[in-house]
């Protein structure tokens, strides 16, 4: 298990006494795709924000590639190698699609703008946004905005990519395309991915490993097949009467 890229250890977060995340621990092995699932209000996005540094954890530790990144700010954690998307997309509305992605890429190659532009276009092609590179980001449709989020996070060249509900609002065909793109990325570049997802068919198709949260606590983990037959998981998704 030493090969884990990300280790989340005993992570917790309280908001004014309210326990949103409690003693959550799991590992994301290098090169794997791990899904974080659970009903609404299970603490998935909070867990994400704790890992990505958008919120400081109340307790517990986050280890990335052997380095303790607990309590670092968002920017520092990105520089340490975690790229994230936002559940509510945050495009740089006034900039073009290409420029959005360039902003992510500019940290590399000493801020060389031409190289960043080239890198941005490569990523945009990968995410099938290449023909919209010069469009203002505010003109994109929601599915395209979701792809732009992924493209921008990828441009930072992360070791670990955090995807917060990138399938939500996508039609089944678009969803399948996104699954294909992410699987391709994972296979070809060995990119490790941790994702929050509600769309179960995407979870099933993508993930090697699934972690289930409920009321801020981890209630199960395992392969997709294992967790879907796990009694506690069935209970929290389908109600207590299910037997």
């Amino acid at each position: 298990m030493n090969s884990a890229l990300l280790t989340v250890d005993n992570l917790g977060k309280s908001f004014r006494g309210l326990r949103a995340v409690n003693q959550v621990g799991f590992e994301v092995p290098r090169g794997d795709i791990v899904a974080l699932i659970g009903p609404n209000g299970a603490g998935k996005t909070t867990t994400f924000n704790l890992i990505a540094g958008a919120l400081p954890p109340s307790d517990g530790r986050v280890i990335l590639d052997g380095h303790d990144i607990t309590g670092l700010g968002q920017a520092a954690i990105c520089r340490a190698g975690i790229g994230r998307t936002f559940q509510i997309v945050k495009p740089f509305a006034g900039l073009s699609v290409e420029e959005n992605v360039m902003v992510g890429a500019l940290r590399h190659d000493n801020g060389d703008v031409d190289k960043a532009r080239k890198a941005a276009n490569d990523i945009l092609h990968l995410l099938e946004l290449g023909d919209k590179a010069t469009h203002p980001a505010q003109t994109l449709t929601l599915p395209d905005r979701k792809r732009l989020e992924v493209a921008r996070a990828l441009a930072t060249r992360p070791k670990l990519l955090l995807l917060d509900e990138v399938m939500a609002g996508l039609r089944p065909v678009e969803c399948d395309r996104m699954v294909a793109i992410l699987t391709g990325l994972n296979k070809e570049t060995g990119l490790t991915i941790l994702l929050i997802e509600h769309v179960m068919r995407a979870v099933m198709a993508l993930s090697d490993h699934v972690v289930v949260l409920h009321h801020g606590e981890k209630i199960a983990e395992g392969t997709p097949a294992q967790v879907t037959s796990h009694p506690k998981v069935l209970e929290c998704y389908l109600g207590e009467d299910h037997e």
């Binding site: 990505a52 958008a54 700010g73 968002q74 920017a75 520092a76 990105c78 520089r79 790229g83 994230r84 936002f86 945050k90 495009p91 740089f92 509305a93 006034g94 900039l95 073009s96 420029e99 360039m102 902003v103 992510g104 500019l106 940290r107 801020g111 703008v113 960043a116 010069t134 203002p136 921008r152 996070a153 441009a155 930072t156």
Partner: protein, 328 residues
């Protein structure tokens, strides 16, 4: 794409050539108006770096104008220091002031309108301070001695004719334009715009938001204070009441908002339009002969531009002219 880009460059060069030739034909009145336009464009571009590019709303830029003006002016009056040396002192003081305001504002998370009010407060605070500082003449003002030999232009001491001031202002404006363009095309320019559009998303992409915003404040403060030095030597008198006033801060940003905030050419277009409007209305007002009509019409025109072209005149004009420019 490159053809359109060329057309843009051709237009700019043509305009520049025309501007360079103006003093050959223009009288003193036109020249003084053009100097006003140029210096307003210059100051507008300086403010644009902070607000237009990086999205940080300053309503107290008169502070940097005043600090530059007083540093250049007072050193010249007391020690005969050449303005270009005094400018270095002015920029240093402005950068220091910018560091204080930026650090306090950004570290304490004072944002938006609140940040704007903080900048006003610092400018007003400094105004009252200068009102009581004897070394710089306090509220009775500081006066720069006129040149011993009025007919000779001395560029090093910035004493001379309107034509000389015109070329200095033109040079500063061209330099500011070129500098703004260079900034916008580099990494820092992209980072600023990212922060302007969504600070949280910029942060998540690994950008050091505090440092990036500070750089915008400091560059903007230094540029603005150089404009202040020019004003001191052009007007030859300085009063805290006017140089640090909120009216000056407002005047300074009007052209840029009207012209198109965040654009490269907007501050220049805005300065031209507002000065033309002001001069036109003055002439008109003199014919009507009622006090205040000019200002009322000015206010109405501002409002109309705002209602009709809230994004500014340049983005609209640019698309009418068929010029490329993408989002800028």
């Amino acid at each position: 794409m490159s053809l359109l880009h060329d057309r843009r460059a051709q237009l700019l060069l043509g305009l520049l050539a025309l501007m360079a030739l103006v003093p050959l034909a223009a009288g003193d009145y036109l020249l003084s108006i053009l100097i006003t336009v140029l210096i307003q464009a210059y100051l507008g571009m300086s403010w644009n770096v902070m607000m237009g590019f990086a999205g940080q709303f300053s309503l107290g830029h008169a502070l940097y104008v005043g600090l530059g003006a007083y540093a250049g002016g007072a050193l010249f009056v007391h020690y005969g220091t050449p303005p270009w040396i005094g400018a270095i002192a002015g920029m240093a003081v402005s950068v220091l002031a910018g560091t204080v305001i930026g650090t306090l504002g950004f570290r304490f998370k004072v944002m938006g309108v609140y940040f704007a009010l903080l900048t006003i407060a610092f400018a007003e605070f400094t105004r009252v301070l200068f009102d009581h500082w004897g070394w710089v003449g306090a509220s009775s003002g500081l006066f720069l001695p006129p040149a011993a030999n009025a007919s000779a232009d001395n560029l090093w001491l910035l004493r001379g004719s309107a034509t000389m001031f015109y070329y200095v202002a033109l040079g500063m404006t061209v330099a500011a334009f070129w500098f703004s363009r260079a900034l916008l095309m580099r990494r820092i320019g992209y980072y600023w715009q990212a922060i302007r559009e969504d600070q949280d998303a910029a942060d998540a992409l690994g950008i050091d938001v505090f440092r990036t915003k500070m750089i915008a404040v400091l560059i903007s403060a230094a540029m603005t204070s150089l404009g202040g030095v020019f004003l001191a030597f052009f007007n030859n008198n300085l009063y805290p009441e006017s140089i640090f006033s909120m009216h000056r801060s407002i005047e300074l940003i009007l052209g840029t908002i009207i012209g198109g905030i965040g654009t490269l050419f907007g501050p220049i277009l805005g300065a031209v339009v507002l000065t033309a409007l002001g001069e036109g209305l003055t002439i008109l007002g003199a014919h009507i002969g009622i006090d205040g009509v000019k200002q009322i019409a000015y206010g109405i025109c501002l409002m109309l531009i705002l209602i009709l072209k809230p994004g500014g005149l340049w983005p609209w004009l640019r698309s009418r002219l068929g010029l490329a420019g993408g989002t800028r």
